[in-house]
């Protein structure tokens, strides 16, 4: 093993110009050029060797840590050095077309490609492939030897389920695509590959089931993906802002999930998924807002409890959005709405609290968000300590000291719990952001303020679209038959049709005709 990082660059050649050149075919020059291109890369391994009889000079390149070393040795070097000698001696001389021989007769590897320029060589070795150059040939052989230590498949951390599959995506793209492919064993499951990022050259895969997905949507995503011109893509969220119809909004128009079963469910309903190498989340699109309160688990539990939980989740969603602002509005403007006994209790607990209710609510909400954020970032060992200090000590001490009133703590705690009911992290983020707008409006104008913000929010949401699909569908534009899978969860025997999408060719999910339910 040789590390070439200390070698000075060849005199006149600039690596940035060199990289666009083709392979010269002269192994010494190629080696010098590649070393120049790869200078200061301590993890590159360049191994010149000789094989055949008479001996031909060859060269192997790969990045250490990205390849399966054993495979390189057994399936590449060993056949070359041993079998080539055998082959050549039969003919009594060196074969005309060395590369063809090596590729089709000698190497026992399946994944072999031929490239012609340094640029491709560099891309392939960065991706974990091994490149093999032969003296006198202006082409290089690329062997797929990608193998690196990745995180194994674990259970999802954010989308925890009681029933149903407990697999989650990992950071390795191939594992992720395999997890999807294993669930949908059809050649109609397409996985289009893209390389995005000027520097990172990240592999991005667009998944869809052809025959179900509306073709115009695929074209739209294709063109948006190919038009991305940026330095790097490190997570699916990077792509979101390039793909979304409307960029300037808090309402995400995609859904992020770490569960392959959820992705498959969406694929079967004619949506698309985008996977990014290095990111354990898949991005689903197009998505409509009501889908944010659908949990994957709904489909793994009997439909009656699932429907009840879904309705409950919707109420919790509204509460998480509105509870603090309703409390502020009612206690500052609409005191006649509170039952007398509750009014007395609130007034009693507000005795001596130095802040107006709005300030109190705002501080408490901000504190809660802070605690939540701290709980997320802290090392696991310290996490429980923070929640104890935060929830118990700060909460209790603040009430004891008369800084906040008890009903406020109850409201904030209730809101916090309700906001965790949202099955989707994107939805929870929307709620948390919008909640503060409602709080301010409630402090300014009471219920009228809440209504104004609510109407503004609905107007904004109604004007959004995800890949041209209305963001509030099927609520607006209203579609009665689809509500059976939004407000409640219909039993599977009634779900003969897929959710409608503009341009969908095949809406029948099951049954001969998919008659209207």
């Amino acid at each position: 093993m040789r590390y070439l990082n200390s070698k000075p660059a060849p005199e006149s050649s600039d690596p940035h110009e060199l990289i666009d050149q083709n392979i010269t075919g002269i192994i010494k020059t190629d080696q010098a050029n590649l070393e120049a291109i790869l200078q200061n890369c301590s993890d590159i391994i360049i191994k010149p060797f000789q094989f055949g009889n008479p001996p031909i000079a060859g060269m192997l390149l790969y990045f250490d840590g990205l390849v399966d070393r054993q495979e390189v040795e057994i399936n590449l070097l060993k056949p070359l050095m041993l079998e080539m000698a055998m082959l050549c001696s039969q003919n009594g001389g060196l074969h005309e077309d060395v590369l063809e021989h090596v590729r089709y007769r000698i190497l026992t590897m399946a994944d072999l490609k031929v490239v012609k320029d340094y640029n491709s060589i560099c891309h392939h070795i960065s991706s974990g492939d091994t490149v093999f150059l032969i003296d006198g040939i202006k082409e290089a052989l690329v062997a797929g030897t990608r193998s690196w230590k990745g995180r194994g498949v674990e259970s999802p951390e954010n989308e925890v389920v009681v029933f149903g599959p407990k697999e989650a995506f990992t950071e390795t793209l191939r594992f992720n695509t395999a997890m999807i492919r294993r669930r949908i064993k059809s050649v109609n499951l397409k996985m289009e590959g893209y390389v995005i990022g000027r520097v990172t050259k990240t592999d991005v895969v667009l998944c869809y089931v052809s025959g179900i997905v509306p073709p115009n949507l695929v074209n739209k995503v294709r063109s948006r993906l190919s038009s991305i011109d940026t330095d790097g893509i490190l997570d699916t969220e990077y792509l979101n802002s390039f793909i979304a119809d409307t960029k300037n909004t808090i309402f995400t128009q995609v859904e992020n999930t770490e569960k392959p079963d959820r992705v498959c469910g969406h694929l079967l309903e004619g949506r698309m998924a985008i996977l990014v190498d290095g990111s354990p989340t898949a991005m689903i699109l197009p998505i409509s807002f009501p889908q944010f309160w659908i949990a994957a688990e709904d489909y793994y539990t009997p439909y009656v409890p699932a429907s009840l939980y879904r309705i409950g989740r919707f109420i919790a969603f509204l509460m998480a959005l509105l509870a603090p602002s309703i409390y502020v509005a009612v206690t500052t403007y609409h005191q006649e709405m509170i039952p007398t006994a509750l009014y007395l209790t609130i007034a009693a607990s507000r005795q001596g609290v130095p802040f107006p209710i709005f300030v109190e609510a705002f501080l408490m909400e901000a504190t809660f968000e802070l605690l939540r954020e701290a709980g997320l970032r802290l090392p696991r060992a310290v996490g429980p300590a923070v929640s104890i200090v935060g929830a118990l000590i700060i909460g209790d001490a603040a009430v004891q000291a008369g800084l906040v009133s008890t009903p406020m703590v109850v409201v904030v705690a209730f809101t916090g719990i309700a906001s965790f009911v949202a099955p989707n992290y994107n939805a929870a983020l929307i709620i948390r952001t919008a909640r503060f707008a409602f709080l301010i409006a409630a402090a300014a104008l009471g219920f009228m303020g809440i209504m104004i913000v609510l109407i503004l929010m609905l107007i904004r949401m109604a004007s959004l679209s995800s890949l041209g699909m209305p963001y509030l569908s099927p609520l607006a534009p209203f579609n009665w038959s689809q509500l059976s899978d939004i407000i409640v969860r219909r039993p599977w025997y009634l779900a003969n049709q897929r959710p409608y999408m503009e341009g969908m060719e095949n809406q029948v999910r099951q049954g001969a005709k998919g008659e209207q339910e």
Binding site: T332, Q335, T340, S349, I357, L456
Partner: protein
């Protein structure tokens, strides 16, 4: 451009309106909660009394000594002035929207209610669904000061008593402010208000509902006693539920039977025949046999019919008492004038001017259909051997 429009049209008014809201919003702890509001009249001044709840959590209230309320009175030339002058002594803003009971003093009633009707109907702080009660033999502050059993606020207690007694004994009909105002404003019907009195029980003062005050328009006319109030309740146009009838036991005049009224519906129809106006009153009532103090078997076919007849007679008697008392006061508390207007508009326009006199001479034909339905746990009288 679009963004600018959004800011100008929506955001700027929203932010500016936040500065205007000072007079509207007030923090909870700067308010005082009135659980009862009262109006009275004394010597040319109007008096407003409020029963204010002391602010306390349930825990604090349980450990607190003494009453959980304070009663404030203030005089003024109008009710509004009196109510507002309270802020000269009280550091908190009294809020009236939790006051479900509205007391009217006896003095004010004798003075006539015409001077406070406008206040009651116009003031947004007075709840239209609060119950109206007239104090009798006491001033409203005295009533507010009474320590009612089990309920910390007498104003709340009066409301609960009125609501429960209607179900359990069925004597008085609670009257809300909205109903009262409607009756005052409608020709052909006069308002009533139940009365509250202070009674003494072994030296401890208690509140009780006793009698119904009758008004002729806004002028105080007199009161109905218990039996008349019951008769008045039977004559009301709504279906009534709950209440008791105590009738003599058949075959044993010294013992009694209690009948519980399940429902009762009165239909009153004016009939104009040969120049004479009569009121046709028809009552359909149902009741259950609740108890008997006689030891005779009463629940057989003969006495069963007799019980029904006796009950019907009792109802008819009470209604007749109520009618004759109302006619004596010339106050059409049953709304018969309004029924006449609906049935015979031309006749009503002729008699409207002297309707009180005509009302006092009206003949009512009463017909009561009473049906006994159930007998609860046993269908026989208890046999003592």
């Amino acid at each position: 451009m679009k963004q600018g429009l959004f800011i100008r049209v929506i955001l700027v008014p929203l932010i500016l309106s936040a500065c205007l809201c000072g007079c509207q919003g007030i923090e909870v702890e700067r308010t005082a909660i009135a659980v009862g509001v009262a109006a009275d009249w004394d010597d040319g001044d109007y008096i407003v009394s409020v029963q204010l709840a002391k602010v306390a959590t349930a825990e604090q209230a349980a450990s607190q000594e003494g009453p959980q309320f304070i009663v404030l009175n203030e005089r003024g030339q109008t009710l509004t002035e009196a109510a507002r002058r309270m802020n000269l002594t009280l550091p908190r803003l009294p809020r009236w929207f939790h006051a479900n009971t509205l007391l009217l003093g006896e003095n004010l009633a004798q003075q006539g209610l015409s001077s406070v009707i406008d206040f009651l109907s116009r003031n947004p702080n007075v709840r239209a669904n609060s119950l109206l009660v007239m104090t009798r033999g006491a001033t409203p502050p005295e009533v507010f000061q009474i320590d009612t059993p089990l309920e910390p606020f007498s104003a709340v207690a009066i409301r609960y008593i009125l609501e429960n007694q209607e179900d359990q004994v069925g004597i008085y009909k609670p009257v809300t402010l909205a109903e009262f105002l409607y009756n005052v404003a409608t020709p052909g019907i006069d308002p009533v208000i139940p009365q509250v009195r202070i009674v003494s029980d072994n030296g401890k003062k208690l509140l009780t509902i006793e009698g119904t005050a009758v008004f002729r328009g806004t002028e105080w006319a007199g009161e109905l006693n218990e039996a008349e109030s019951r008769g008045f309740r039977f004559l009301s146009s709504e279906r009534i539920r709950g209440g008791l009838l105590v009738i003599p036991a058949p075959g044993d005049e010294t013992r009694d039977v209690t009948i519980e009224i399940i429902s009762s519906q009165a239909t009153v129809k004016p009939v104009w025949k040969e120049g004479e106006l009569r009121m046709m009153v028809q009552i359909t009532a149902e009741g259950n046999f609740y108890d008997q103090t006689s030891s005779k078997p009463l629940l057989n076919l003969e006495t069963f019919r007799l019980l029904e007849k006796l009950s019907a007679g009792q109802i008819e008697d009470e209604m007749k008492q109520a009618i004759s008392k109302a006619q004596h006061y010339q106050a059409d508390i049953f709304g018969w004038g309004r029924l006449l207007e609906r049935e015979y508009p031309p006749i009503w326009s002729q008699v409207e001017q002297d309707w009180p006199q005509i009302f006092s001479g009206l003949q009512a034909d009463i017909q009561v259909n009473f049906e006994l339905r159930r007998t609860y746990l046993t269908d026989e009288s208890f046999v003592i051997r």
